[in-house]
């Protein structure tokens, strides 16, 4: 089947999509967007987190057909959204040292973006932990991921440069 959707603000079409094909497969293998990572394929690790109509979902658990005529944002679409350059969450992950091997990073960034979009000001640590509880990270021990989300929140609230 043919699936059309909006991906990172642009219309996108994928042909010959199998009915059981995941949105993640379509993004990575048909639309050349490998930023969303393919790891557990069962919604346990959060590495494939994207925004579907502004709601974070595991792209591995969404059938591609379910995304038809809807709006998808992947990590590739973040840079430039809130001004030139990287998204503040991306920049904060770099600056805080929240990236080690990097495999969980796109999913965590998408999830963090969602948290900060629906949070006024700087969220407390329990809120950050709750929001990111579905994203597994093997390398960092999460400490610098917390640092990054706090830093991004403060920058987006205008508290620090």
């Amino acid at each position: 089947m043919r699936v059309t959707m909006t991906v990172n603000g642009e219309p996108a079409t994928a042909d010959d999509v199998w009915e059981g094909e995941s949105l993640l497969f379509v993004l990575r293998e048909r639309l050349a967007l490998p930023g969303s990572k393919n790891a557990c394929e069962q919604g346990e690790c959060g590495s494939c987190t994207i925004l579907l109509d502004d709601v974070p979902v595991c792209a591995c658990l969404v059938a591609a057909g379910q995304a038809a005529d809807r709006e998808v944002v992947t990590v590739e679409g973040l840079a430039g959204r809130l001004g030139p350059g990287l998204h503040p969450v991306q920049q904060a992950f770099l600056d805080a040292g929240a990236v080690q091997c990097g495999f969980c990073t796109p999913g965590l960034i998408m999830q963090a973006c969602d948290l900060l979009r629906r949070t006024a000001g700087v969220p407390g640590d329990p809120d950050i932990r709750e929001a990111l509880a579905g994203n597994l990270c093997r390398c960092t021990g999460y400490e610098k991921i917390l640092d990054a989300v706090r830093l991004a929140a403060m920058r987006m609230a205008g508290d620090v440069a």
Binding site: A96, I128, R129, A133, C137, R138, C139, Y142, E143
Partner: protein, 142 residues
Amino acid sequence: MTAVTGGSGPVVIENCAIATMDGRQHDDSGAEHRINPQAVEGQIQGGIAQGLGLAVMEEIQVSDGVVRNPSFTDYLIPTILDMPPVRLDVLELADPRAPYGLRGVGEPPTISSTPAVVAAIRAATGRDLTRVPVRPEHITAT
């Protein structure tokens, strides 16, 4: 050399759930100076997370040659909800036996944090606890 303080109550045991508190790590990891301070800290924090996982969660269960828990559904690793804040004091002491005084940083906290957590559970429960991961039944003896 790496030491993790443990054994004097940095764990809380409640309803057979183990919460680790205050994973304070002392690591003389650097040579005279850390080449990348942020990465040094990240390696230590990440190593502690893996050691904590081994202490109370992570175990590949095999029976008749089949791995019984081949997914993140039943092979658990620490999530951001499981990790305590990790406060670090990095001591920049050169290793006199190594070229340029170099020291590694990733493995020591991974290895040392597991016995530190288990020592703390021993202290809190009075049980021997001779294997990891420590499971609820090892504490309740049921």
